[in-house]
Symmetry: C2
Subunit: 148 residues, 2 copies
């Protein structure tokens, strides 16, 4: 399963921008801290921007900024902005519809899977980027404002 690391990197990026407190952060710098490339970061920022979480500032001294306060960005918002695949992947080819079980297994599973997904999303909705950023400060003994 090519599983994507986009969610983790996106939270990393948003926490970094948050701690810069208003100063734009270049995709190149974000790429450095996240151990990836600037192109990947820009693709990520493109999704975050589409979701209304960030904005970008062109030209010298430019970079990425938050489009709204960090305490109003939930991890669920980030997750939905950057993650493409469903939590559960069903049969690659639809099950045999003429079979007793195959004909209704998907419908039979759905409520249970929906509840699991809802519980999952509910927890992600409880945490904001601001809280993650605060945790970073607490754990890392960082002195603000951030220099690097």
């Amino acid at each position: 399963m090519p599983t994507s690391s986009r969610f983790a990197v996106a939270v990393h990026v948003l926490a970094t921008i948050t701690l810069r407190d208003g100063a734009p952060v270049r995709s190149e710098d974000l790429a450095y801290t996240a151990s990836t490339s600037a192109v990947v970061i820009r693709a990520l920022l493109s999704r975050l921007s589409d979701a209304g979480l960030t904005t970008s500032q062109l030209g010298s001294g430019g970079g990425a900024l938050l489009a709204k306060p960090a305490d109003q960005i939930r991890l669920l918002d980030v997750y939905e902005a950057v993650e493409d695949t469903e939590l559960f992947t069903m049969h690659r080819k639809a099950p045999c519809k003429d079979c007793a079980v195959g004909g209704s297994i998907l419908e039979a599973m759905q409520p249970a899977l929906d509840r699991a997904r809802a519980a999952f999303e509910n927890e992600l909705a409880r945490v904001t980027v601001a809280e993650i950023a605060a945790e970073v400060v607490r754990i890392g003994h960082i002195t603000l404002p951030l220099t690097w």
Copy 2:
């Protein structure tokens, strides 16, 4: 996020075996209802067997059987038996440890991600294969015992 369809197919397989009520089911027949190949099913059954959920019977008239009652097999057991990847995929390359955020972002996110995962697993633990099989019967208007 998992992109394998193993979990869905495994639940399908277990529900089918459940409704056969004691009669072994050949991997070839399971492959047919799940629209896949017998080799894929056998690989799946190998994992389920390792987890103590199924057993296999060789020879003519053989096939897969449940290793314990269907109402004692939780969807969480199935999920853990067949799914390899973590719910959240972290950075492909570890983030820059010398950076203010990179040095502690993983640790900072972990509690929130753990809560989401726990909520997810908790819901999957509430549902059993027996309940899914009962839903299949209810939705599909099936007359037991299962002929196909």
